[in-house]
């Protein structure tokens, strides 16, 4: 049998065998194994290399605190770097590779760094690599970069899908060990809505790893019974494989459920789900994490935490070694020895730093008291340990226990600070817990089983009582108060070799001492200078011992020296899971215009405008590029008639007795006296006097207006209007509702616009210039009775209308307009032609209304009323904003007509150097005008309105070009406006 380290018992299914590979080597395991337990079972001790010194490393723990056993899991696009073998469920066909070595795992060329370690002490890189200057980026940094990092990304798109969800509960119980099980039972029985979440795939926590009894049966058995009871409760949700990774404001917790990570394939289902749990209360029952003791070469494969060794033996039926010594400062370490011996594993020695009698009888084990381990032998796998008195004990595994740290992490996520407790030599949750959270069990320093379970009950009762549930008084099953005495002991002082604290980042006792020597004495300086606790395990096993050593250096107590607090996440969370479904084309929703299908069928190229997709142009056969299409659309529109879907403009229904007065306050120009049946252009300012948005507003009846906004600002304008109505003028009777999606709206523009519409609008409506002049509006019907709205407004400068029909008729309306327009050669046009025509006409759009320009800059200063109360008019008059020499919006044309203007060019007066001090302004929008046969531009230039005819340089150094341009009126087409009034 290749599973040389399998022993009896454990919660694995020996009837079924899983095959897997590690670095290509075939191995076997069973359902219920983790990758780590299976590797140990197969006798694989060397599993990885450390970050800095590339030291050979083995499995150190049996949980998510693992610093060493990180692998690249799976292959191809599914490759998952830095995966902890200790929490990876084994599945059939699993592939894993070790990481961070050049050459093989056994013969890592980078291991040479270990021999250079005297020169690579804490912070060495801050003191060198500076000469010569260019060498840092060309030589030193590339080398550092290449050697840094651990696992590799596949560089391919993550092929799995992820989902998210929302959960709500009265009580969230975090951790399903004995404490959490009791807390969930207590609250569940009382009728509270409970979620019990645990990161493990088998609930029960340490009960699964211990031989302790509960209620007269093995703890693991009791846990199974409790889970059966909980599973039967409608009001309880059990969530295994679910890590509650962050405590956020107001009872919101982040939780990651791993749905298919234990399967060979996700089968097209979400790999993981990110849950946002909204809880009224929470019980943190996250248990405790064992910490190591530092001594010389304590990082060899085979040196492990004692509680983890016990987990492997009891839960997985695996012994990490055949000769396992225990090194401890506390009673708990002894249980590892006892449990191993009970399973037939030889324990040659129990080395206890205390000068105290044996905790229990361990047959065959020598009790060496008042002693410590100073060194180890066995570079790629432990062979022996050397004790303080010089004796050497041959072992292939050393189980180390330095005591247990309560898992206070989530109590710190809102910057709560843990408090020190001398009796257990550990930090426990402080007073400033996240609101709604209570802590119970080992996480709260209740270190024995009986005490933890009792606290689980009492804390759960307190929590649910506050929510109005009756507390449960049921008797708890009998459990032990097992011996847990522990003395503070952090490192073996007699040791002269390097003793590791942070195994992954290679931070040793010496590094902490050097950090102290150089003045990096605050905990945060220590972490930042040495990189302590910055590795993937976030210092779960390293931080407290390092703090203790810093305390030794400073001569202060540990709590005086400081604490480390923890930030989310508790364990790392894939970015894919945090992103959920919002990726690729599903990153944001698509908004489609009502005539989208028509446009698609008619050759439209679409462009993203916010979340909208709009037709950009409609290519026809034979056209060589987009310019051909756009030029044709512009010319056809100006010649006869063009049609454009303008549904995306925001539409807001404004109703109420005070609607007119309200509009008069939110627009800079007057609206109080707009007549029914008329439309007006409106300019909206921000309160700071900057131009914000523009559009037309139509008065449909005395108390009813229809406002349009720009596409980009539809939501923002609505928000501002609600602010004005609710917060500034709360007694105005005015009501707002968006109808943007409700009406399909089409611009019909060109000399034949009226003739075309005449064929579509029902006869009862007089469209003559007299009856329906420029800036008229009204409700009409089209195509035999379909209700519609008609506005005579023009963005193109042509005779133009906008006609709106209920959105469901939008696609048909486009089709009807085109069919009715056949005799006029009606042309659909897209946003490009729209843009060309507005530039030709000198209308400002987003590039001009960019949030930085004033009405004064835009040449609309006179529109801003100073005789009424309106948003923005006061601050618009600040001295620097109404300067005479401010930039003004004007037109530009190239002196050499065949040259194309460049948007984003800056203007420099002829003869001046192109430097920032001489910057006169910038070109904001350009287009090729097919009507004029040359490029036209809009731009802002100092004193522009007084410089007509002047020739300046438009420079674009980023393109390496400049050209001479003439300042002209922005109205390139029909400056008198005859066409639109025709």
């Amino acid at each position: 049998m290749s599973q040389v380290n399998r022993i009896s018992g454990g919660q694995i299914d020996r009837a079924q065998e899983f095959k897997f590979t590690f670095n290509g080597k075939a191995m076997q395991g069973h359902p219920g194994d983790t990758l780590a337990s299976a590797l140990l079972a197969n006798g694989q001790r060397l599993v990885g290399r450390s970050f800095k010194y590339h030291r050979p490393r083995g499995i150190f723990t049996a949980g998510s605190e693992e610093p060493n056993a990180l692998v690249e899991l799976r292959s191809g696009a599914h490759q998952e770097p830095n995966t902890r073998a200790t929490v990876t469920e084994l599945f059939d066909g699993l592939q894993a590779k070790s990481q961070n070595h050049r050459g093989s795992l056994e013969h890592d060329l980078m291991a040479v760094t270990d021999f250079m370690s005297p020169f690579l002490s804490a912070g060495f890189y801050y003191k060198t690599f500076m000469w010569p200057r260019a060498f840092w980026e060309k030589l030193y940094e590339p080398i550092i970069r290449k050697s840094a990092g651990l696992g590799r990304l596949s560089m391919q798109e993550d092929p799995d899908i992820y989902d998210k969800g929302y959960l709500h509960c009265d009580l969230l119980v975090i951790g399903a060990g004995p404490t959490g099980l009791v807390a969930a039972l207590t609250a569940g029985r009382a009728g509270a809505r409970v979620i019990l979440a645990d990161e493990d795939f088998t609930l029960g926590g340490r009960l699964n790893s211990e031989t302790l009894e509960v209620g007269g049966v093995p703890g693991a058995g009791w846990a199974k019974e409790a889970l059966v009871e909980l599973a039967a409760m409608d009001n309880v949700r059990l969530m295994s494989r679910t890590t509650v990774y962050g405590a956020y404001d107001h009872g919101v917790y982040g939780a990651l459920e791993r749905c298919t990570d234990h399967l060979a394939s996700s089968g097209g289902k979400p790999r993981q789900i990110l849950w946002r749990v909204t809880s009224k209360r929470a019980v943190l029952a996250a248990g405790a994490t064992e910490r190591p003791i530092a001594f010389g070469n304590n990082d060899r494969p085979g040196v492990m935490l004692a509680g983890s060794v016990r987990s492997y033996a009891n839960r997985y039926g695996v012994t990490p070694g055949q000769q396992v010594a225990v090194f401890t400062n506390n009673d708990d370490g002894w249980r590892t020895a006892a449990d191993l011996v009970a399973k037939g594993v030889h324990v040659p020695a129990i080395i206890d730093v205390r000068d105290a009698p044996a905790v229990c009888d361990v047959p065959g084990a020598r009790h060496i008291r008042n002693a410590g381990v100073v060194d180890t032998i066995g570079r790629k796998g432990l062979k022996s340990v050397t004790l303080t008195d010089g004796q050497v004990i041959p072992v292939d595994c050393l189980a180390v226990s330095g005591g247990w740290n309560p898992n206070v992490h989530l109590t710190c996520h809102q910057r709560g600070r843990p408090a020190w407790r001398d009796d257990i030599s550990a930090f426990v949750p402080g007073r400033d817990l996240p609101p709604g959270m209570a802590v119970a069990g080992a996480a709260n320093g209740a270190m024995t089983l009986a005490a933890a379970m009792a606290e689980g009950q009492s804390v759960a009762n307190t929590q649910i009582e506050a929510l109005g549930y009756k507390p449960s008084k049921a008797d708890l099953p009998r459990a032990e108060d097992e011996p847990r005495e522990c003395v503070p002991y952090w490192h073996v002082r007699e040791s002269t070799k390097r003793g590791w604290l942070d195994l992954q980042n290679d931070v040793t006792v010496k590094d902490v001492r050097q950090s102290h020597r150089e003045g990096f004495r605050s905990v945060e300086h220590l972490k930042r200078y040495t990189t302590l606790g910055m590795a993937t395990d976030q210092g779960k096993t390293a931080n407290i011992p390092a703090l203790a050593i810093m305390a030794e250096c400073t001569g202060k107590t540990i709590p005086e020296t400081g604490t480390t607090i923890f930030r989310p996440p508790y364990t790392p969370v894939p970015i894919g899971a945090l992103g959920g479904r919002s990726r690729g084309r599903d990153f944001r929703p698509y908004r489609l215009t009502p005539s989208h299908n028509w446009a698609k069928e008619n050759g439209a190229t679409f462009v993203e405008v916010g979340n909208w997709l709009r037709a950009q142009w409609f290519a026809r056969p034979g056209e060589k590029g987009w310019r051909d299409s756009v030029d044709r659309e512009v010319l056809a529109t100006r010649k006869s008639v063009g049609i454009c879907d303008v549904t995306t403009l925001g539409k807001i229904d404004v109703q109420g007795k005070d609607a007119a007065a309200f509009l008069n306050k939110v627009y800079a120009n007057g609206f109080a006296k707009l007549a029914v049946g008329r439309v007006r252009y409106g300019l909206m300012l921000r309160e700071d006097g900057i131009a914000y948005d523009d559009g037309t507003t139509a008065r449909m009846s005395e108390n009813h207006f229809v406002m349009t906004t720009t596409t980009a600002n539809a939501v923002l304008v609505f928000r501002r209007l609600e602010f004005a109505r609710q917060c500034l003028w709360p007694d105005m009777d005015v009501h707002l509702i968006s109808t943007t999606d409700g009406w399909a709206q089409f611009a019909v523009a060109g000399p034949n616009a009226r003739n075309l519409l005449r064929k579509v609008v029902d006869e009862a409506h007089d469209l003559s210039n007299e009856a329906f002049p420029f800036m008229a509006c009204g409700e009409v019907t089209v195509c035999n009775g379909t209700p519609a709205r008609l506005f005579r407004i023009s963005f193109s400068g042509e005779l133009a209308y906008e006609v709106a029909v209920p959105a469901r008729y939008g696609n048909a309306m486009m089709d009807v307009l085109m069919r009715a327009g056949r005799e006029f050669d009606a042309t659909p046009y897209g946003t490009e032609a729209l843009g060309v025509m507005r530039i030709e006409k000198g209308h400002a759009a987003g590039n001009e209304l960019n949030g930085q320009t004033t009405a004064h800059n835009l040449g609309m200063g006179k529109m801003v009323s100073q005789t009424k109360e309106c948003i923005g008019n006061v601050l618009s008059q600040r001295p620097e904003m109404v300067r005479e020499d401010a930039v003004k919006l004007v037109g530009f044309r190239p002196v050499e007509k065949d040259r194309g203007l460049i948007a984003g060019s800056h203007f420099i007066t002829r003869g001046d150097k192109a430097i920032m001090d001489n910057d006169q302004g910038w070109m904001s929008s350009v287009a090729f005008s097919p009507s004029l046969g040359h490029s036209v531009g809009l731009g802002f230039i100092k004193n522009g309105d007084t410089r007509m005819g002047e020739i300046v340089r438009a420079v674009s150094p980023v393109h390496g070009t400049e050209m001479e341009v003439e300042i002209v009126s922005a109205h390139f087409i029909d400056p008198a406006g005859d066409r639109l009034r025709a």
Partner: protein, 95 residues
Amino acid sequence: MIINHPLLGPRDAAEFVYLGDASLIERPDWQADDAAEAFHAYGYLRDNPAGKHAELWYHEQGDRSWLVVTRDTTTHEITSVEMARDVARAKGRSK
């Protein structure tokens, strides 16, 4: 964060849009002699307290109401939530 809407009950803050200090309700008189200075202070100067802060939130993905939320900027604890319209009226704002 969870905002306990006076009409709708607890709602996730992600449904809301934040504006800023609730003093933005107190828009100065545009005709006052010191209007320029008053609007400067209104538009630009903030108490920005480390502690209780009355602030404006808009329930954009909800009932479109503006709320005045009193929240501690050091702990994020929310101690009161009012309809901004009621607050505005209480401050004497009208038409």
